[in-house]
Amino acid sequence: MRSAADDADGASFRLELQTFSAASVKGLREAEAAFAAARRSLARRRKAPVRASIARFRQAGKAWAAVGDRGGELLALAGESQAWLELSDYPAALAALERARMFCARRAFFRAWVANLQAQLYLEREDSKSAGRYAEEAIRQSSALSDEWLKADSLADRAESEYWRFASAENVDIEKAVRLSTSCSCHGDTGAGSPFAVPGSSRTNVR
């Protein structure tokens, strides 16, 4: 088997296992296929396929909801949010993430993960104050979870929000983020763990 990781220094993985009854098989398969198709459409980054991905994410979310898979529903909503963001529809993107937060009540990791996405979304909106607030939340929670990958992402988001506010802590946060992302084999791309990080793209803001 060929591995793209052959070209990299390492890789990071995050996994969550869930178990279901035998009656869930059909729904799980449908959701997984729709979710994979949605991700492929979204990655094309053109208007029509991105729009099509929204319907696919919703199909996946509906199928996951039918079998009680809250983690799946959450991922489908995060994907939908990313699609709206690609279409520059910030209110719809935020609304999808707010719905995703509803599934985070007893899920500490996903609560931090969604907070990080919200920070990134506000950065895209050039609302550095709100971005900083959500990045703080994500840093606090990811630190408690010892999730270096997520913490590196969150630190990078806070650094960017500080950059836009001319805050002096920017460099410190960037250094921490780079150090963490190197140690956890995130390839130094502090946005790699985010559904908002589309392959081949990066945020390049000019102040």
Partner: protein, 105 residues
């Protein structure tokens, strides 16, 4: 060089894990983070008690990786290639008692 991550799934009543030593446990509903250097291998245990079907939500930082889930008898139950470095979902039946393996290369 490849990565080999081997996840051994131990259902209720299962026996030992075999030649490789486990280095961790993957618990249901507990997102777990791993960081591997090139060439690293990892063995995880999972108690999938009570389930007939299992689903793993997976996030990776690199594309092009391939997964395969093997039954206790060695049959491939599910497999996928990671096209994008983000989330994917992979389900497979886990009703059989014994050691399930998930290979990542």
């Amino acid at each position: 060089m490849r990565y080999f991550v081997i996840f051994f799934f131990l259902t209720a009543g299962s026996v030992g894990i075999g030649a490789a030593e486990p280095s961790g446990t993957l618990l249901p509903h507990v997102p777990t983070f791993f960081s591997l250097n090139r060439g690293d291998s990892l063995v995880l245990r999972l108690d999938a008690t009570g389930g007939r079907e299992a689903e793993i939500l997976i996030e990776t930082s690199a594309p092009g990786l391939e997964f395969a889930v093997l039954s206790p008898g060695g049959q491939q139950l599910s497999g996928s290639e990671v096209e994008l470095p983000q989330w994917l979902a992979l389900s497979f039946p886990c009703a059989e008692t014994g050691q399930y393996r998930w290979l990542l290369a």
